[in-house]
């Protein structure tokens, strides 16, 4: 874990920006055409914020989320995570940040089908060098926390969508990340389990996690502190919801 601390040194002070983007661009080469997915994004997110990113499909939401999640590198511009410029990092260091500092929650859950609930939650810890006992214990705690105390040995295929998403949330919390990135977390769920998931995410934010969610769901957006609307790769507007 010490290795990670050097790479992404976040302070717990709530007013310091946890991430900062300056004139960030991302282009994809599609044959001979250059597709400009993100155009000069300037964005600052503070530690502990709850931010919803909205926009029509093709507006670059997912790319922005991948960028924040260090799955991708910008074509130009700067992206500071803490005081670290992600554009300058090696692939291994990006992996380390993803594993230790960022928790992912996906629309399609993205659990590994061969593994049971506990093993799925253990995956991120596995890459951070937890011992088997430590990670098993923590995985159980997390599973209980998201309300799956009686489902330890179940495979994802034996769980409902809402339960699967809870496993995914538990997994995203495994390494106690600073940022949780949720990509349409309720997109594949019925409204009841959707609202359950939302309330879990909300609780996490209350506990001080920075939460960034991409969504079409106005319900999520209304619960967020700030809504960022994208259009054609640019930030169209940002609004702060009043509490």
């Amino acid at each position: 874990m010490q290795e990670v601390d050097k790479i992404a040194d976040f302070s717990n002070d709530n007013d310091t920006p946890i991430l900062m983007m300056e004139r960030l661009c991302k282009n994809y080469q599609l044959g001979t055409v250059e597709l400009r997915v993100l155009r000069e994004i300037d964005l600052t997110i503070k530690n502990g914020e709850y931010v919803a990113i909205m926009g029509p499909s093709g507006s670059g939401k997912s790319t922005l989320l991948n960028m924040i999640g260090c799955l991708d590198r910008p074509t130009s511009g700067d992206y500071f995570l803490g005081d670290q410029n992600v554009a300058e990092l090696e692939d291994d260091q990006l992996s380390l940040i993803r594993g230790a500092r960022i928790g992912f929650v996906f629309q399609s859950f993205n659990l590994i089908n061969q593994l049971n609930v506990i093993e799925n939650i253990e995956v991120p810890m596995y890459y951070q060098g937890f011992t088997e006992d430590e990670s098993a214990e923590r995985a159980k705690e997390l599973a209980i926390m998201v309300g799956l105390g009686d489902r330890f040995g179940h495979r994802p295929s034996e769980l409902s969508g809402g339960q699967q998403q809870r496993v995914a949330i538990a997994r995203s919390l495994a390494n106690d990340p600073l940022i949780i990135l949720a990509d349409e977390p309720t997109g594949n769920l019925d409204s009841e389990s959707g609202s359950e998931i939302l309330s879990i995410l909300h609780d996490l934010h209350e506990q001080g996690k920075t939460l960034i969610a991409v969504t079409h769901d106005e319900g999520i957006a209304s619960g967020a502190e700030r809504v960022i609307r994208l259009l054609d790769g640019r930030i169209k507007n940002q609004e702060y919801n009043k509490r």
Binding site: D92, S95, A100, F106, N110, Y127, N175
Partner: protein, 433 residues
Amino acid sequence: MFLFRLKRTVKLGSKSLWMHKLRSTLTALGIIFGVSSVIAMLAIGEGASQDAQEKIAQLGSHNIIIKTVDPPDDQSSGGQQQTMKEYGLTYADAERFRNGIPNVQVIVPNRRLSQQAQYRTRRVAVEVVGTVPWFPEISNVRVKYGRFLSTTDMHYKRGICVVDEKLVRDLFGFDDPLGQDVKITSDYYRVVGVVTEQASDKAANGFEDKDATGAKKAGANLGCVYIPLNTARNRFGEMSLQISAGSRTFEKVELQEIIVKVSEIDLVMGTRKSVETLMSRFHKKSDYEITVPLELMRQAKEFQRIFTIVLGSIAAISLLVGGIGIMNIMLATVSERTREIGIRRALGAKKRDIIFQFLSETLILTLSGGIFGIFLGSLIPFLVTHFGQMRTVITTGSLVLAFGISAGVGIIFGLYPAYRAANMDPIESLRHE
């Protein structure tokens, strides 16, 4: 830390292999057959080689054997005629070797005759060997009980003999041969000792088949009667009559065989040259043949080496095919699990973690294939020995080699699929259905 990771990776790998039992088994079969054929082939090759070398070694690695051979007829032999042929090694040759060649320890001149031996009422065909007292020193014949011929026997041309175990069985049955008299032609010989059998004629790859001159040697495996050389010279003379296809030939052969023992193994080849020079000076006809067991042994080794290479290559090809099968399956596995790779990458797996994961799966597959292959490969030579009466030798080296090769195949053929898995774009793989 590393060991702990290794343990988990192995656990993970075995788990996902276990989920596709049939596929994993079929894939490992390629390696199992490859490894077992390497072991079996090497064992059969090694067995054959040791067999040949042991038999050659029985002739004595320090020895040079000079033998009498019937020279090709230089004049046309037509119709019914009585001819007199004089050829072969002479006592003078033996004397020349003794005096003229340095580093020669023992010279054993041998006279071999095929005769009938009679004990009481039983008669069997035997080979009579007229030889010298120091014969056991350079041959593989060992005295079992009694004694061998002595110099006194030699000097006084005594009518005594030493018989080998085979003859004891054939002729005496359950009687104690010591002190008994054996009748050969018209003379009696008293048995003073029993010796072990000489290496069978087949052993020397037929080099001793030409021994018989007096009569055609029907059964190769005859019992031997050893009598003093001087006695043989005295009683049998040097003439023999050969009657074949209506023609009668008198043959005069003094000695059938001279064995020269060289003091040091390094000098064997040099001494062979001296022997050749000496022989060619005194023998105009090519009525002799020089055999050097050491040379045979070297040839056998060289032949063996080629044999092993050929067998090994065939086996290696089957391993290669197995390896390609493994690579094929691993590539399929990788593309099947693209999404899992994407998930793992997003959750903090480094490229080398992914490489390690897939490589370890391949290695588990090939190494367990290797272990089963070793069992199967050890079983095959056993069956070959049991049913095929062929000698096989499984060396530790071949086991280590086969296991090493299977590990090597795992690494070589596992590396590319693993590398491909690690270099997939995480975003793309997450989207993969």
